[in-house]
């Protein structure tokens, strides 16, 4: 498997052409995308043209940048001007954004090549990519199983070698959980580290864009390329950020690592998943880290809080799909009827469920009992993290309580599906970074993921720990 940084190095030196690289990946897409449905759109011609342009830059003796000639898959909720962006929804089918997301501009400015748009749960709401209006994505390790979600197309694309890198978005685990289920590396950066401009909003206080890769070093390469302040995102962090790549290999001697008791040994966590976290902790200890068990009692209320806060924010954000300015319109005699018919026809079942839940949680009489409590749980979870980080540099837990489940297994029961996010949600509520990396396979032969968590802007330390775990992983 080619690493992105090796591709970039060989393209920059002229040893390999970007055209040769992209043609190789497009062959992989052609061979398997019909089966996996990881990509909703493959921009083969545009990608080849971009590759030729990169090769021309190299021929002139100039440097195309740190991602020179590296194909990158984009989750289909990231806008690229003139390229159809669906969010996995009928309501946006055929829509071409009039602007480009900052992260996409950053990838292209660094010499990366946008290869295509990846499937996702509709508006990033789901944990299996079965909620896409354009059919589910299948797990490359076993096509009868889900790739996780909501960034299942991005994770599957990297696992199937459609591209060495992909971008996803993570609101409650939507990068890390599919990374775990597909056996790749996935990073949810600190809230505000990466601009959200041009990411179609789901829950604005939780959403964050991040990388998928086949190695920790490649994830570092892409994270550093997309991080930084953006005046077009008022929540982007204005401070100078410390890049993660330079300190990647500095090791973990003396690093204090906490293993989260509630998430690692909690109800519903498969024994092989708990065992993987213990083994990863042992590997860090062998490399000089100091391990202790830590307790974050309020995380057990994270699921309840998240499934009030995220739908509440979504119900507001998705009000814009009204059939007026873009997207689907189903006619009606008056404006309200047109709005109602458009939204009923355009949204799928999970999106409707969340809009309904969020509207209810915010409605008069119920606000305090549901939304108000959820916001206070968010405070308690953040306090728990703050307390634990007084004595720990990073934390460890599972990413997903189980390995990849079969298609259809959890679609009948929303709560069973929501349980997939129990280990990843607390990070989003606190606004912290976390990443998932593979640790062997379960008894079913499917990848197991372990999660490394860090305090706000703790990415450099988090990546150092991840590098050590990666080297020790079976």
């Amino acid at each position: 498997m080619d690493r992105a940084y090796e591709i970039a190095a060989s393209v920059r030196s002229g040893e390999r052409s970007a055209r040769e690289v992209i043609d190789g990946y497009l062959d992989n897409v052609a061979a398997r995308n019909d089966e996996l449905n990881a990509l909703l759109l493959v921009g083969a011609d545009a990608a080849r043209a971009s590759a030729d342009a990169i090769d021309a830059v190299v021929a002139q003796g100039k440097d195309p940048g740190p991602l020179a000639g590296v194909p990158v898959v984009l989750k289909d909720n990231l806008c690229q001007r003139g390229v159809p962006t669906t969010c996995g929804s009928r309501i946006l089918e055929g829509w071409k954004p009039p602007y480009t997301a900052t992260v996409v501009e950053a990838v292209i400015a660094a010499g990366g090549i946008a290869l295509g748009k990846a499937n996702l749960d509709e508006f990033a709401m789901g944990s299996s990519t079965e909620n896409s209006a354009f059919g589910p994505t299948r797990n490359p390790h076993d096509p009868s199983r889900v790739p996780g979600g909501s960034s299942g197309g991005s994770a599957a694309a990297v696992a199937a070698e459609f591209a060495p890198l992909a971008l996803g978005s993570d609101t409650g685990g939507s990068i890390r959980q599919p990374a775990a289920l597909c056996g790749v590396v996935g990073v949810k950066p600190t809230y505000g580290r990466v601009s959200r401009y041009g990411l179609v909003a789901f829950a604005s206080s939780l959403d964050q864009i991040g990388p998928f890769a086949t190695s920790v070093s490649d994830a570092a390469l892409l994270l550093d390329a997309i991080s930084g302040h953006d005046r077009r995102d008022s929540t982007s962090i204005a401070d100078q950020l410390i890049p993660v790549a330079p300190s990647l290999n500095e090791g973990v001697a003396g690093l204090r690592v906490g293993v989260i008791e509630e998430l690692t040994n909690g109800e519903g966590v498969a024994p092989e998943v708990s065992a993987a976290v213990s083994a990863a902790a042992a590997a860090l200890e062998a490399a000089g880290a100091i391990i202790e068990m830590v307790s974050l009692p309020s995380t057990q209320f994270g699921l309840s809080a998240y499934y009030m806060i995220a739908p509440a924010e979504a119900s507001s954000n998705l009000a814009r799909y009204d059939g007026v300015r873009y997207g689907l319109r189903v006619d009606g005699d008056d404006l309200s009827t047109m709005n109602e018919r458009t939204r009923d026809a355009g949204f799928g079942a999970e999106v409707k469920r969340r809009i309904m839940l969020g509207t209810y949680a915010l409605s008069a009489g119920y606000y305090d009992a549901y939304y108000g409590r959820a916001q206070r749980v968010r405070t308690l979870i953040t306090r728990d993290f703050d307390r634990v980080y007084e004595n720990c540099d990073v934390l460890l837990s599972p990413t997903s309580p189980t390995t990849a489940f079969k298609l259809g297994d959890r679609t009948a029961d929303p709560m069973a599906m929501y349980q997939s996010d129990v280990c990843t949600i607390p990070t989003n509520l606190a606004g912290h970074p976390a990443m998932s990396l593979p640790w062997g396979k379960g008894a079913d032969g499917m990848p197991v993921g372990v999660q490394v968590l860090a305090p706000a802007l703790g990415e450099p330390t988090m990546f150092r720990a991840a590098r050590v775990i990666e080297d020790a992983a079976p």
């Binding site: 071409k96 009039p98 009204d322 300015r325 404006l335 047109m338 939204r343 009923d344 309904m356």
Partner: protein
């Protein structure tokens, strides 16, 4: 402020659908009544917690107003934006009537 034991009624679901501008079918309202009740009952676990002295968190970052100099900058191209609209008239978005005819 604890909601009553029936987490949500069919009538409430129909009312919320109206608020959310979702023209749900009768079948969708039936199904959602059961599904939302299941989720709301789960969310009641938060009622066990003591929130004395716990302020709500609305956002992970301390938010400040972000302003830019009041200077004219390029905006989205009007024609390109209108190309995406379902219906356009005289460079404006056209919608069905909002008010009753006189």
């Amino acid at each position: 402020m604890t909601p009553d034991p029936v987490a949500i009624t069919r009538a409430e679901v129909a009312h919320v659908a109206k608020l959310a501008r979702l023209g749900l079918t009768a079948d969708e309202i039936d199904r959602l009544t059961g599904e939302l009740a299941g989720i709301l009952i789960h969310a009641r676990d938060m009622g066990e917690l003591d929130f004395t002295g716990v302020e709500p968190t609305t956002h992970p970052l301390p938010l400040v107003n972000v302003v830019r100099p009041d200077e004219v900058e390029p905006t989205l191209d009007r024609d390109e934006v209108l190309t995406a609209a379902p219906e356009v008239e005289d460079n404006r978005f056209r919608v069905p009537r909002i008010l009753e005819a006189p």
